[in-house]
């Protein structure tokens, strides 16, 4: 089972990689892509139908009579393929998420316990929640598909780091972790982290898009035209954060209740507790900033990005560089 789990992880990473490549293809060659815009430029004032064609095929517009342009078989075929790439990316994402789930389940079966007993398993679980949260968002807002590139990228990086650096053999839980609070506390932390991840992607893309709309054209802002509108992204980011924040609060509370039973005190400023507190305060600041009309939306988005940075610090920095009571990473 443990071997199967590792193999399924490889399948998941490869699927996410395929999703990333397909998204990138759609991104680059889709009807809002760079090649398309280059083709449009000389024909900017042409009729919409002609522009539509130019957008797709990058063929000389004058070759075809305008009336038949959109109906031309060649035009239809070339117009479709970036779209198809986008759909294939979503399919690859779903396949990746299924393999990802399979990897988690087989790991849990192999260890005969919940599959989040160490850092490797925690990263896998949180990334899986991120995938599911993204697919839910996508099902409800198909127009956001372009964001999939960044979600797939985050998945490939997280799973790659997990598979190469954090991987540990399957072992049962340490006595300190052997409690039903592990299920409650860590499940909540995983759920909140995964949702914060997608919320962070939306906030970062909001900043890119908003910067682009203000006329910035340097690197990260040059991605702007390819992502959905700034307002939609901002609202998505807020809703994800508003969903995740109570779960994070609950995760911290459940952790405190567990700490009382295991270590004798509900709060002791252990490094992991301290960073959970920092993240909580930063995300509380985000929600307050978002609710205050005088605070710019981009400021709020920056706070959300900072919040994600504190989450990452807690996951990687505290687990790997600072010793404390939460030293369960199992990474040497």
């Amino acid at each position: 089972m443990a071997v199967l789990s590792d193999q399924l992880l490889v399948v998941a990473i490869l699927s996410y990689l395929v999703a990333m490549v397909c998204h990138a293809a759609e991104y680059a060659f889709g009807n809002r892509g760079r090649v398309a815009r280059a083709a449009v430029r000389p024909a900017r004032d042409a009729a919409p139908a002609a522009r539509e064609l130019a957008v797709v095929g990058a063929r000389p517009v004058t070759d075809l009579p305008p009336s038949s342009s959109s109906a031309s078989p060649a035009g239809a075929r070339t117009r479709d393929w970036p779209q198809l790439a986008g759909r294939a990316a979503v399919l690859a994402m779903v396949v990746g998420a299924l393999a990802h789930l399979g990897s988690l389940v087989t790991r849990g079966v192999a260890a005969d316990r919940v599959p989040w007993g160490n850092m490797y398993e925690f990263v896998l679980s949180a990334a899986f929640v991120g995938s599911v949260a993204w697919l839910v968002v996508l099902a409800r807002r198909p127009g956001l598909r372009h964001l999939g590139l960044f979600v797939a990228l985050a998945q490939v990086v997280l799973l790659g780091v997990a598979g190469m650096v954090l991987v540990t053999p399957v072992v049962p839980l340490e006595p300190a972790l052997n409690s039903y609070w592990l299920k409650v506390h860590v499940t909540a932390a995983v759920l909140a982290s995964g949702t914060f991840l997608v919320g962070f992607v939306a906030a970062a893309m909001h900043l890119v898009r908003a910067g682009y709309e203000q006329g910035r054209r340097s690197f990260p802002y040059s991605l702007g035209p390819r992502v959905p509108g700034a307002e939609a992204l901002e609202r998505l980011s807020f809703r994800l954060h508003a969903f995740a924040f109570p779960i994070w609060t609950f995760a911290v509370i459940a952790g405190a209740i567990w700490a009382e039973a295991a270590w004798g005190r509900y709060w002791g400023w252990d490094p992991k507790e301290t960073w959970a507190f920092i993240s909580w305060v930063v995300y509380a600041g985000y929600l307050h900033a978002r609710a205050t009309p005088s605070v710019k939306r981009s400021t709020a988005a920056w706070i959300a990005v900072l919040g994600w940075a504190t989450m990452m610090m807690n996951l990687f920095g505290v687990n790997l560089f600072i010793s404390g009571l939460h030293s369960y990473a199992g990474v040497n």
Binding site: V171, P175, I253
Partner: protein, 536 residues
């Protein structure tokens, strides 16, 4: 809160002064108060709180791990005292950290008190009458003909709104009739959002109060407890190896009970990882009912009246019997400090009162004896490696080094019980006798002066933390309310709907126009409005 208290004196000082400066002072105070309670200040304070917590995780903290702090002082002799003056090793007890959160809570109180007042007023008031032009509202439905006279229709609509489907209470709705024969229905919903918001913030104060009371009335003591009736412990400060009392707790307030460790059970995986361990103890004492064979473990503390006993760690205590040159025997049970996950343990068995001439009763300070030991629960093939290969006692072995001389215990300077006095060793007042020897259980070693040490076996020991925090229920209740308030405030949506019902030209029927306004960000309101108007 400090500012709440300091502001009245500012006002009180004003009368004796000429009215000008007094009023100016008052204005200044009011201005400061307004600044402090503004959202911008609250955000800055929140951010500061987060930043201030960072050194608490990066630098070692006394409250978390004092050994790491001491090591930091050794490693950074120049930097550490400077950091210490900034209270960087006690961040969470430092005045500057307290200043930030007290200012934040003052700002919070200043913010929620007026909002609480407004909210209570809004709860008592009826929703306001419909605006003259419903078509100017973000949501609007043009007049449609309905059966029934205007007032009856209005009452029917009010009933519909009050019996709201789904979770939560229905709409607060009121019918007003007007002189021109029209009737209006005003309805409002989503008061729970603000209720939740206020509940969340009030609960935060509850958490702070609970934490404060816990630190005043709570106490803890740590104790290493070796199995056996002769090593039982009773809960008093003298018997704790380390303790901390809250500001309002005296030594006499600790509940009186005694605890004897009767057994300690562990199971290990083949890899040496512990699978489970638990302690078995018998409890007695005036403040707790006597119980035999109570079992407690990590995650399952022993909960006694007024105190909880937590199992934090465990190890082995070798039992050594030393027979001195006069034939007198002494037995020592010495807890050894665990140094790795395979329970390789080290410690010192000291016999300061050995070799006292029974005839004279004179102690020869140069004939004190101590044994430095390394205990390996499972000894490897080559014991000189000095590391155990498994945490359970599969092949126990004790590596012993004998020392003789002045142990340096009479100086009154506290020294580690796990190590020999390095000063005495350096000064040559304590010297090694013979070579290291590996002892099996029951084995013995004879020193050059004919004295003998015997390894009788080991007893398990546990590290216990005995704690009490009477304010825990306050904190727990507060966080439960906090979570409930948070979810209400994040999911609730404040919105208003109005219907204007006017007499139709057709007798026995009326025209109904509707308008709606979402008072907070609510993307789904248009849909909800259409659904309600459709049902009307």
């Amino acid at each position: 809160m400090s500012t709440v208290e300091t502001r009245p004196p500012v006002a009180a000082e004003a009368p004796p002064r000429p009215p000008g400066p007094g009023r100016r002072l008052l204005a200044l105070g009011r201005n400061w108060w307004r600044q402090l309670t503004s959202m911008r200040t609250a955000l800055v304070l929140l951010f500061l709180l987060a930043v201030a917590a960072v050194p608490g995780s990066v630098l070692p903290q006394r409250s978390v791990n004092i050994e790491q702090v001491n090591r930091y002082f050794v490693d950074h002799p120049d930097l550490a005292p400077v950091l210490d003056r900034l209270r960087a090793f006690d961040v969470f007890a430092s005045p500057w950290f307290a200043a930030i959160y007290l200012l934040l809570f003052t700002s919070l109180v200043g913010c929620i008190v007026p909002r609480l007042r407004d909210h209570l007023r809004a709860m008592r008031q009826l929703p306001p009458d419909a605006p003259r032009r419903l078509d100017r509202l973000p949501q609007h439905a043009a007049a449609v003909q309905h059966d029934g006279a205007a007032v009856q229709t209005a009452e029917r609509l009010r009933g519909l709104l009050r019996r709201h489907q789904g979770l939560g209470p229905g709409w607060r709705a009121v019918v007003r009739t007007h002189d021109d024969g029209t009737a209006t229905v005003s309805a409002e919903k989503g008061y729970l959002k603000e209720t939740g918001n206020l509940l969340f913030h009030v609960s935060l104060i509850g958490v702070l109060v609970g934490v404060a009371f816990g630190s005043w009335y709570g106490w803890h003591g740590n104790r290493l407890l070796v199995a056996g009736a002769d090593t039982a412990f009773c809960n008093s400060l003298q018997q704790h190896h380390e303790y901390g009392l809250g500001a309002r707790v005296g030594a006499g307030d600790l509940p009186r009970f005694c605890l004897e460790l009767t057994d300690f059970r562990t199971t290990y995986l083949d890899s040496g990882q512990a699978e489970a361990y638990s302690a078995v103890a018998s409890v007695s004492g005036p403040d707790t009912p006597a119980r035999d064979a109570v079992e407690f473990s990590v995650n399952h503390p022993l909960r006694l009246p007024g105190a909880n006993v937590y199992l934090l760690g465990h190890g082995y205590a070798p039992v050594l019997k030393y027979t001195d040159r006069y034939g007198q025997s002494q037995t020592a049970v010495v807890p050894f400090l665990v140094s790795d996950s395979m329970l390789t343990s080290e410690g010192v068995a000291a016999f300061p009162d050995a070799n006292v001439d029974p005839a004279t009763g004179q102690r020869d300070p140069l004939r004190q004896v101590a044994f430095q030991g390394l205990y390996l629960p499972t000894t490897p093939e080559d014991p000189t490696v000095g590391r155990s290969v498994f945490p359970a006692e599969r092949n126990p072995g004790l590596l012993l080094w004998a020392y003789r001389g002045d142990l340096g215990m009479d100086a009154g300077i506290p020294t580690s019980v796990y190590r020999l006095n390095q000063g005495q060793l350096d000064a040559g007042r304590l010297t090694r006798v013979g070579d290291m020897k590996l002892l099996r259980v029951g084995g013995s070693m004879v020193l050059d002066d004919g004295t003998k040490v015997e390894f009788l076996g080991t007893r398990p020991y546990v590290n216990l933390s005995v704690r009490h925090d009477p304010a825990q229920p306050v904190v727990l209740g507060s966080v439960a309310l906090l979570l409930a308030g948070l979810m209400l405030s994040l999911t609730g949506k404040r919105r208003r709907i109005w219907f204007r019902v006017s007499e139709s030209t057709t007798p026995g029927s009326s025209m109904v126009e509707a308008g709606g306004l979402a008072r907070t960000d609510h993307p789904g309101f248009a849909e909800e409005f259409r659904s309600i108007v459709g049902k009307a």
